[in-house]
Amino acid sequence: MNRTFAFLFLLFFSVCSFGKEDPILEKRVMALASELRCLVCQNQTLADSHADLALDLRNSIREQMERGASDKEIVGFMTARYGDFILYRPPLKAVTLLLWFGPFLLLAIGAAVLVRRIRRRPGPAPELSEAERARAARLLEE
């Protein structure tokens, strides 16, 4: 009984791995899918998501790769249909300038404010003259 079970168990997994395609291709599919956003569950990549659409899009990536398409061509295919939003790394364009450089802009503003405040801070008190020193000493003695 146990043996039959073990046999079936192994058979099941061998069938599973038989059905699996070329592991190198699969790796390439997943690498590209992890660069693309699943539009249904927007904070997941196509590689992580189990949504139906993510599955379909992974299949589409696989088919295109089997046909010899480059990663760039496939990304082009996806953005033509779903827009730049599908890219986890948005392209550098006029409309995304603020997205890319906004944080640096804020940093520069912060630095400028800091420099100005430091410059404006009054320096060390001026040295006292002889007469003032004598007057201070007198006042202290009293």
Binding site: L39, Q42, D52, L53, D56, T79, A80, R81, Y82, G83
Partner: protein, 176 residues
């Protein structure tokens, strides 16, 4: 001192304004790159007659709507009365793209809720859906006489959108 308080309050108000605007944006409304582009061609079997096909090119010269729907999609049911009204009142036919559905579910759905479509094509694999950048059913496209996509709605069409966006656009495009 007073001016410093003003600056702090001003910056804070600006921040609140930006965040409030951000909260009001709907992250599901992704601008479609397909607006202004030719509608992707397709030839698909009819939902009601398996043996017959329909091609998007047959609609050239007419303004038409493509409505992506499925029997498993709750919001499709919600927008169904709006689509039905649109189909009756617009000079443009509405074609259904039955998306990743099964005939045994889709046909009873139409029988139960009414069929506003001139016809529905059957995209069981969702392949044509990908061509149209579909990711949140229902989706609705307005396509002009030259076969160019002029408007896309992701999610259910509301009576407001139907009256304020789709109807005026269709009558404008019909005059072109």
């Amino acid at each position: 001192m007073n001016s410093r308080v003003l600056v702090v309050v001003g910056v804070f108000a600006l921040l609140v304004g930006i965040l409030a605007a951000g909260l009001r944006l709907n992250p599901r409304e992704v601008p479609s790159p397909l607006i202004g582009k030719p509608a992707p061609p397709f030839e698909l079997p009819l939902l009601k007659q398996e043996g017959k096909t329909f091609a998007a090119q047959q609609m050239l010269g007419r303004v038409w709507l493509l409505n992506v729907w499925a029997s498993w999609c709750e919001p499709c049911l919600q927008e169904h009365p709006v689509i039905t009204t649109l189909a009756k009142s617009l000079p443009a036919p509405v074609i259904g793209l039955n998306y990743k559905d099964a005939r045994e579910n889709a046909l009873p759905w139409l029988a139960r809720h009414g069929d506003p479509f001139m016809l529905s094509v059957f995209d069981s694999s969702g392949r044509i859906g990908i061509e149209y950048g579909v990711y949140g059913v229902p989706e609705t496209y307005v396509i002009d006489k030259r076969g160019v996509i002029r408007y896309k709605r992701i999610g259910p069409v509301t009576p407001e959108i139907a009256a304020q966006k789709i109807a005026p656009l269709v009558s404008e495009l019909s005059r072109e």
